[in-house]
Symmetry: C2
Subunit: 132 residues, 2 copies
DNA sequence: GGTAATCTTTCCAGTAACTGGAAGGTCAAG
DNA sequence: CTTGACCTTCCAGTTACTGGAAAGATTACC
């Protein structure tokens, strides 16, 4: 499939997909006319990248995650140790998102925007009373 | 407190804190010697920024979140509608993180790195069999 | 078959969000 | 009163895109 189609299915702009190719993240086939030709597997990987980038992983981290995703020949211990450290990071991100969620819900529920100078939320936000 | 201290407490590099000041996200007091002087409230906000950035929100989105955080005078409906749309985004991110977590756990549990050409994970990854 | 619209290609420049480093001022310790 | 660890501003470089030009390919219509 052409890049426009892959873009629609992955949620990534065509520009970004070409950029990911430039930096060696994903190399699609080429059709006889020179057009890039994406397989469904490529599209899955693009969607995977779209998600991980949106969740705050850097491109280099995404490269690692993609390597895990694509793993076909690396040593088990190696793969597992990277996966485990990524899992810890994911766990942390989920917790932080829950705290942010809690804070915003609290705001929606309790702050009425009626010119009050101090909001009780300020106490609980930014992990001051929720983590570490 | 000085910027180095604020940096330690917020987890943001001093460089980044100065950059956030440049773009108008957070304006600390200045001591008589010209040094930036951060209050605990400033540090909370920096930590808040550190987290939201790490969770994949853009600086402009963080500006909105910070405005919610700081809200003291805006109309309730306005604040609530922004907060609600951010809550949806957070909900989505949590779901995506859970799926990523599930995928990686599956990888750690079932892929042994023993040269196998196709991993069963490929089916379930990237939301193909888990969402939408 | 012609041609206009809509792809696609590469390349180069611009933006967003930092990041590093130079040149110099400030401060606490010995 | 100097040494070292801070801090300041400024300017240049990096990462991760993003927009736009110029040109080739494909499809859609007459």
């Amino acid at each position: 499939m052409n890049i426009g189609n892959a873009s629609d299915k992955s949620g990534l702009p065509a520009k970004t997909i070409r950029y990911y190719e430039d930096i060696g993240l994903l190399k699609p086939d080429r059709a006889d006319n020179g057009y890039r030709d994406y397989s469904m597997s490529d599209v899955h990987k693009l969607r995977f990248l779209q998600r991980s980038r949106g969740l705050g992983f850097s491109v280099e981290e995404c490269r690692q995650l993609l390597a895990l995703y694509e793993d076909k020949s690396r040593a088990s211990a190696d793969v597992k140790s990277i996966a485990k450290s990524k899992l810890q990071e994911i766990e942390r991100k989920i917790i932080e998102l829950r705290e942010l969620q809690h804070t915003l819900k609290h705001l929606v529920a309790h702050c009425h925007g009626d010119q009050r100078p101090d909001c009780p939320i300020l106490e609980s936000i930014s992990g001051t009373a929720g983590s570490s």
